[in-house]
Symmetry: C2
Subunit: 348 residues, 2 copies
């Protein structure tokens, strides 16, 4: 079991994803501000993992308060939620998790709960979200594993794995399930510049599980597709709009176009908490621009000349027309996605 984040008596213990694969170091966040820092600095990343981390951050906000009563705590609770919500803009799971904690707080407050009861319930809610996340990944695997080929290469981009969730993974959960079903999957992992989540994290966690994995540079995918080495693509998502447009790690849109051009299915695996029916299309999804130093430097070494322009959008939007299917814990959705998403929302 890969320990992405774990509750301990002192707070949340995160594996430091900035230091993998060569070092397995851990960071302990004992208050909500430290959880916010851990999200901003990408010690933890991946939409589902960010969501659950934020839930624990809110719970820590309650647990560590010096307020004596629920009413005294209420304005502080708002500040805690605002700080955590301000860490990263694109993954909707962050806002989903905070909203869920806000809803719980509102209910408990209205019911006249004591601050001690609120502390207990909030931690229990974060624990529930942690368990639900793993269960959702397993369900995605069960639904999505069937989509992958019996024998052949599967390309993934970034890390939508155990390290992006509380365990098992979304896209890598689908791959794990296919492997568990006895399929002979050879994974090609895009290294995923600039943060190298593929080269560092996907490679590391798939090797821990003994799954055949080859790292390629992001620009090698088209020639491998043309050579027949890739039979399917499966990626995660940071936010899925109501029309099925998918925001995910920068480069996902490139891969989706290449897959279409080569007639290769392009699958997106994400928990229902990633679906944002309040956002009509991908154009309304805010795209985070990360610090230039992620592109200009690696391991403290400068790559680019001083003063050159740099762009570093952390995500892109893949229009729904490139998506073959969306795999969620509730089942597999296919185009037209607007109708499919609405119908699945109502069913549950």
């Amino acid at each position: 079991m890969i320990p992405t984040l774990q509750w301990t008596p002192e707070g949340v213990r995160f594996i430091d994803q900035t230091r993998l694969p060569l070092e397995e170091a851990y960071v302990l966040a004992t208050d909500y501000e430290q959880v916010a820092e851990v999200i901003v600095t990408m010690v933890v990343r991946g939409a589902p993992a960010i969501g659950v981390s934020a839930a624990y951050g809110v719970a820590l906000g309650a647990l560590r308060t010096t307020a004596k009563t629920t009413e005294e705590f209420a304005p502080e609770f708002e500040r805690v939620c605002a700080r955590l919500a301000g860490t990263r803009p694109t993954a909707v799971n962050l806002f989903w998790a905070i909203d869920r904690m806000k809803g719980l707080f509102g209910e408990l407050r209205a019911a006249g709960a004591t601050l001690d009861q609120i502390k207990e319930k909030m931690l229990a809610e974060a624990h529930a979200m942690y368990e639900e996340d793993i269960a959702a990944c397993k369900a995605m695997g069960a639904h999505g594993g069937a989509l992958l080929p019996e024998d052949g290469g599967v390309l993934t981009h970034c890390n939508a794995g155990a390290l992006a969730t509380c365990g098992y993974g979304t896209a890598l959960g689908v791959i794990r399930a296919a492997v568990e079903q006895g399929k002979k999957i050879r994974v090609f992992a895009d290294e995923t510049r600039p943060f190298l989540q593929g080269a560092r994290l996907t490679a590391w966690e798939l090797m821990e599980d003994g799954i055949d994995t080859t790292v390629i540079c992001d620009n090698m995918a088209a020639s491998l597709m043309r050579a027949g080495a890739i039979k399917a693509v499966v990626v995660g998502a940071d936010r899925i709009a109501a029309n099925g447009d998918v925001a995910n790690k920068i480069g996902t849109y490139n891969v989706a176009i290449l897959a279409k051009e080569h007639g290769i299915p392009f699958y997106v695996a994400a928990p229902w908490s990633t679906i944002d029916l309040k956002t009509a299309t991908g154009e309304a999804i805010p795209i985070e621009e990360r610090p230039q130093v992620e592109v200009t430097h690696h391991g403290g070494k400068q790559l680019t000349p001083n003063g050159v322009g740099i762009r570093n959008p952390a995500f892109d939007v893949t229009p729904a027309k490139y998506v073959t299917a969306i795999v969620t814990e509730r089942g597999v959705l296919r185009a037209p996605f607007s109708e499919a998403l609405k119908a699945m929302q109502q069913r549950s």
Copy 2:
């Protein structure tokens, strides 16, 4: 003037492209073996620059021989040519340059030239190829500059610049010419993993010339195209087959597909020496697989977990159907390329 390679009384002086942009270091190759090493280790790279370097390598083979006569030198000449031809497989300019030196040697030998005469003529031939290369780049600029937009972003991949030639550049020569014509070009340079020719070399040489340049990761191109930031793509080539298929730096094929999908013209700029009419299609072009360490490490720092699979093809093939036009020193070619290439070959 960027000093990619320069003849000196001691041999050929190369700017060390593995150390740019932060260090301007030079390597002096005083014999053909050192020229071969400089090509293998990518101190010099870029198809046209490799070709001229090899020509100087052959000339150094003659100049440094201890043989006393042309006939005594003849078998050594074969070994020199074979060593240089074995350095890198994809760029046809290498073989073109060596074949030209072989042809000259054959003529001189048949005419009964002395070894001293052969030495002198070979060095003169290498000098001529150097000057022709710069002239070809200028002519490509004159032909190709007109193709670029009056105002807007132009994407280039890898480095097809002054550093890939004896000066001015092929793709970057086209950009330089457009800028000299008063066009407002903003260059987007794909960083070009794994060797980072874009981030390091294209960025460096365009900044030396004061051209507006922004480095992006290879996986950011599609979202910039969708946002309208890129109006044209121009790249170089390592070999162009008789049907117009283009071998170029890995990732070129990705960019070509993305350009097609967004309705953006995709131009290839290359000297006539890059065109290989003896190779029918791109499928027959050998693709060099470079050492894994280029992908697994950067600046001595390991990126990937131990033991993971790695692919590192240095080039890919872009089928002719994705190419809007090929810019050569002889003019601009458009589809159908088989006919256009044949016609231009016969005309000259």
